[in-house]
Amino acid sequence: SSFTLALHGGAGTILRATMTEAREAEYRAGLARALHAGYAVLAAGGLALDAVTASVCVLEDEPLFNAGRGAVFNTAGTQEMEASLMDGRDWRAGAVTMLFGPKNPILVARAVMERTEHVCLSGDAAARLAEEAGLPFGDTDYFFTQARWDALAETLRLNAEGVDDGDESRKHG
């Protein structure tokens, strides 16, 4: 009857050469906050689905991680977020893509699962569902992080020069 939770948090440069102790501590603290959010649900006898939702919301709210508030930028200088979740009990699932506006895309994916007959919604349809569900929205300032904007400029420069520096983490945020 024991429970367990694991998570990952794509956060940006991970190359040892550029990692600092301060940054590493920030990342680890963000991961730990997300772990404890899920733990609180499971320790109270809650559902795995609620635990993973709680953990991912914490990571989406932390601009260090490439999701929600810390989302990377595309070639057009805009942000398109994606999310999905799945319940192992009955294979129910929800997913969103091409989304901008709701602070927690994972909650929109959950709304797709719980409020529609569909599995995946994209773009404006997903944003409208989020409004109907009363989910909080952020504006472009809320989602802007200088580090992600700089990573976009760097990547576009390298692409223009046909250079691949192999820094997968900059690409993945």
Binding site: Y39, F73, A76, S84, H172
Partner: protein, 134 residues
């Protein structure tokens, strides 16, 4: 990309993944995160999986579902199946990244085939473990 997988006290499994995608991706590009069976999958009879990395590779190898299928059809344990899909299938097509997975038995796996992966785990003792490199 961020994600979480969990097994609750009743033995139910779930997975959740969220992302901003890839820096300088083409506007309109869809990655593995919203594609069930590629970036996210959960099935009480086998495992819950959440992936991160080069999304196109996870979509082509249908990584999350493949992990579950290896367990259900080949009888592999979670870690064996997870290592194969990350260190074998993905690496075979140059796909960088990793995943977190939890099994119906409460076991978990955190494999990755690149320099590092921000990852963490917590169990009934409430001790939060986090890792970055190997």
């Amino acid at each position: 990309t961020v994600g979480a997988v969990a097994r609750d006290a009743a033995g139910n499994l779930a997975a959740a993944t969220s992302t901003g995608g890839r820096t300088a991706k083409l506007a309109g590009r869809i990655g593995d995160t919203p594609i069930l069976g590629a970036g996210t999958f959960a099935d009480n009879a086998s495992c819950a999986v959440s992936c991160t990395g080069h999304g196109e590779s996870f979509m082509r190898r249908v990584t999350a579902h493949e992990l579950s299928a290896r367990m259900r059809h080949r009888g592999e344990d979670l870690r064996t199946a997870a290592d194969q899909v990350v260190m074998g299938d993905l690496a075979e097509i140059g796909g960088a990244g990793g995943l977190v997975a939890v099994g119906a038995d409460g076991s978990f796996a955190l494999p990755f085939n690149c320099e590092g992966m921000y990852r963490g785990h917590i169990g009934p003792d409430g001790m939060a473990w986090t890792g970055i490199y190997r």
